[in-house]
Symmetry: D2
Subunit: 383 residues, 4 copies
């Protein structure tokens, strides 16, 4: 009979909702090798976490993450808290022998990330960083095709992650705009994703030249209405980057061009990736996430063109999606977390590593750090 | 304290999975006015329904739908069985005072549909036909915009529902290809959806001229491999239409052009709808279901063009989607059922009608019948 | 040494400009088997035709088309005058032994068209109707692919020609809106084009059921400003259809669905064609005229999808376009006329038929007539 | 009565054909303030230039460009020769008082470019560098909209010019791959175009960090077939860059990201430009050159989205295009040259500067040089 994993999830807001849904749905659509129990949801605000517990379907609520990581009832610790808490929680969880799924970026800096990896390795627990976009069916298909040589030798990795939620200068400060809690801005939050996809699909970065920029240096402390005449409005300083750009070279000779910004009006979650190889190319845009565009240089000359692959075919043809609905029936954002959790659970049962591990998290963090260093020094930085 | 509805679902295959998921997810993402309990899942095959019960998260399994509709424990009967069972189940459920959600097409013919409506009205239960596509955020937005007059007077309703799962002549016979169980082919299965969207977004049909056609008249009885030489292959007769086309006039003067086919290679679930009005147009394609294209004739002349609206903004701006994820984070096929169930539950609490009712189902069935009559007589048919 | 054809062109407005350009440009980009001379431009308005002659580069101007067709100096008569003049001019030109290129629709009715064909055949002149869209490179490529069997057996021809220039009820009456000069409205003007493309790419129509509709029955006589209060505005009656729809069956078993309208807000010259066959599909939109979308059912299952073929490769790969610019460098509307003229000139030299001939024009006219008859009788009409 | 300009064009291959066409067509579609005469076509190969003269419609042919620039019969010198000849020809033409239209990049280096500008200024002739893409109607519309403030303050300029004609390592060496004749590779040939569009639409570059890379270092000397076993194949060294990337900051605070490559399989002439401002964004792709995508942050919240503007409306609404065909009828690559020539001719008549002048050429050349210097030094370079 299958064993059961009891899960403790730290964080109940955006990522908390997405991860809760993943734990709930994964067993319904994937034949997991273990049962999962949504055991404890943890957050600092008592009322908030209690309401979330009921809404999201957890058995228990807690306000101190130490209780969760130390509880003998818990098998898996899932970290969806702000970035500054990742390292401390993860290291404690590892010491307590819990398997760990941690949101990205892995940590505030390389040192923290390395400590997390060391702790997890020492404890021999399964560790995974939640770069959920790897398990978009279209991305997983691209990985498979590239692995099979469909693109030949890779020459270009061109990626842009563009959002627009900060274009409005009235948008208030939050923890993602504070260096202490977030580590960085667009760099760690969204550049990290396209760095990860580059590492996954193309290979390791060798050297980079980066640029970080803050367009709006000061923002309201809350979204309270503009105060009356005579009073003073409370403003806070934005201490992270609004946009992160880099050009670089990868170990395998490919050129890299990455841009991450929260200031591209009209782009909501536009992860636009193009990979060009000596035999073909692929293009992907998250705002059209069920599709992969593929140019095959081996097609007959008169009928070459980017194929618009709707990645919704049954199991055995397209990755992950066959567990859902018939061809042509789309899936969405949340499914990427469900796929991640499904693979993580099976890895925990088998005690095997599951990509992307904390090692991937460390390598990602090094690229983020190199971008910052390059910006600081005004020159290229080797990895 | 909120009351609880116990649900009995008849059918556990494609629609059974979609509806189960909807019942499970609706309370997690919408503030329903009642609790729901996934009480009984019903299907004819004992082993099949038991396995499905466990996988899909129902408390009980049953093999006789009469038990479900007669059980005093059940409040809501959800009908996802083949079309030939809809009428009998729904009428029995109504007589037992159950609220009813029924898959489309409502029935095998107009007479059955009318009897279902009469039974539901007599029993004063809430009745809804599951035209889930009405609750795609993009479609709901189109409805709102049209209602506000953004398109002016409607002139054209052009719709195509194209799939390709029958292009392969080796695809075996199933209940959807048998008149006895299905009533019709592309007409009732998919033309019904674009008829419903036309009725929802534009208005009632006034007269139609239709064409039904079967491209492949005979198919293997199962997907077993082609038999050895010397033996005879078992073939079955396809007794429904493979494609249904119609041109027509609507009550409000708009012209209609609908085409439903399962023989359009490369089109997986291509519900392509264009509505042109005196002031603007909208275009929608289900294979890109998070978007609505909108042409506004009132935009300045030099910057008119179809807007590509990513219908993922927060509550208060875009319908339904705000209960899910931040802007730019897509949803998929299954969400349309969750939205349907959420509205249905709230209507059951309030004892109010919820569109589309069985009356909509009857009207839809009349259009389906008019298409068939028109094909038979070779001339226009008034509704 | 190559011979020289002297051309006389009747008509100097929209079609006059397009044809003049074609005669001027064809020898510069195609190796014609004869020289061409832009000899005489003819139009009824003396000042107008003189100004046009200078602007468009013709040697002489004339105001009486009879002079042109009877002139011993003229070898080719190109007819770009309103539809009611086609028959008379063409028949006279044939009798005078001129090769004839005539704008579409060939005539006001089938009888006229048949007389034109008979006259041209009797005179053994080369005759061509200017369905210029056949020579869009993407369409010519589709023709080639279909001929090679890339789509298998054709099942569906779905076409829509949508414009929006009449949505504004203030748009004044012109000759295209008068039955006497135009013969019909959307039917002959634009439905004729998609009928032609259907005949070219798929095959002959067998039976149709059609619908003709006029949305705006009365329009201002000119685009003069709305008159002062007290005075009466001069209005004219629209005597042709604003929209023409048809469903039909083709000789080879394919189903047809055509819609032509001038009332689709936002659609400027949207000729959207989809052809589905047993092995694949093609899709084309004139507003993106340098591309052909092609779905190949023989592609590996995991990488099927509509290919976005940019039809701009060099000669030997893609039709016509190689005479222009390097790959990726687009051509436009006017080029379709240049390709038509180039093929016409070579056919004149060789004395061979060149598609589409007046016979194609006659067959097209029969479909147009069948649509009108079907509308009149409210039933299907066989061809 | 209008005066007449006699044109001498140096170069008869790709640019020679495009410029010849422009000179021939401009007077037919634009009301030029002068007549133009295609007087002399000049090229080094006698047979080649004679054949081209006849094909392209020039009165005379010459093999020595000095004859052309010194001829008292010539008013305008149009330079379409390889890059290494631009400076010498242009300076001589200026000294002879000719107005000068010169292909891009203006020169091999900044010094040459500055000398050309000085010579033209001294001679008080009209001078223009042929950045034809400025006069794509969609780009001219973007310029107008940005000038009117439709995007607010510009934050991002993201541009990619991707081609694929060098992906095949068998593609032979030509003058564009030799530093002596071309100056640089992708940098001067195509990066120059997106630098120009950035300068035109956004503003001056302030500092850049660039990367130049050559993927294929050696190529066949000709496209002769691979030689027999035993013989040695003649190979040549590629001495220019295959790809040029840069990140940068612009004077007005916008961030820049440019990538130019000839190694992007499937991209034929993909000039993809996105400009994000505080109020909106525009997107353009040359492979879809008749369209401009525009996101207007001032649209109502529920119906925001990139508008797909088909830039084909009549004069007074959209730039340039109104001189061609009715709305929805596309134009192509060659038209950008015709628009350029039309504006150039009118500027010559008026004796006024016409953008982009040689001064623009000089500034462009400085950015190209900064990219090369940055690559050499491995750090940022200020302009």
């Amino acid at each position: 009979m299958a064993r059961t994993f009891r899960v403790g999830l730290i964080g109940y807001r955006f990522m908390g909702r997405a991860h809760s849904n993943a734990w709930r749905q994964a067993p319904r659509f994937f034949n997991l090798k273990a049962n999962v129990e949504l055991h404890t949801l943890c957050g600092r605000n008592t009322a908030g976490v209690q309401a979330a517990r009921a809404q999201l379907g957890w058995q228990h609520a807690a306000t101190d993450w130490r209780e969760v990581v130390e509880s003998p009832l818990i098998d898996i610790v899932d970290i969806g808290a702000p970035n500054d808490l990742h390292a401390e929680i993860a290291i404690a969880a590892a010491r307590n022998g819990k398997h760990i799924l941690c949101e990205k970026p892995l940590a505030l800096n390389v040192k923290q990330a390395e400590a997390m990896l060391a702790a997890a390795q020492k404890a021999r627990v399964v560790h995974m960083v939640c770069h959920n976009y790897r398990r978009i069916p279209a991305i997983a298909l691209a990985k498979k095709m590239i692995g099979e040589g469909a693109l030949g030798k890779i020459l270009h990795y061109h990626a842009r992650y563009a959002q627009d939620w900060l274009v409005d200068p009235e948008f208030p400060i939050n923890w993602r705009l504070q260096k202490e809690t977030s580590g960085s801005g667009a760099n760690g939050d969204i550049n990290a994703h396209i760095i990860d996809l580059g590492r996954y699909l193309v290979g390791e970065f060798k050297e980079v030249c980066g640029l970080l920029h803050t367009f709006v240096a000061e923002r309201p402390l809350s979204d309270a209405p503009v105060p009356q005449r005579g009073s003073t409005r409370k403003m806070g300083k934005v201490t992270v980057d609004d946009a992160a750009l880099l050009i670089g070279r990868m170990e395998n000779g490919a050129l890299a061009n990455l841009e991450a910004t929260r200031f591209a009006a009209g782009r909501k979650n536009h992860i636009a990736i193009e990979i060009n190889g000596s035999k073909g190319s692929v293009y992907f845009d998250f705002e059209d996430m069920n599709r992969l565009k593929f140019f095959n240089g081996d097609d007959p000359k008169d009928r070459q063109g980017f194929r618009d692959i709707l990645v919704t075919e049954r199991s055995g043809i397209h990755p992950f999606i066959g567990n859902w609905w018939p061809p042509g029936h789309l899936i969405g954002y949340e499914h990427t977390f469900i796929h991640t959790v499904a693979d993580f659970v099976n890895a925990c049962v088998e005690g095997k590593p599951v990509q992307p591990t904390f090692e991937d998290g460390v390598k990602n963090q090094r690229v983020l750090a190199a971008v910052a260093e390059s910006q600081h020094k005004g020159r290229w930085v080797k990895l």
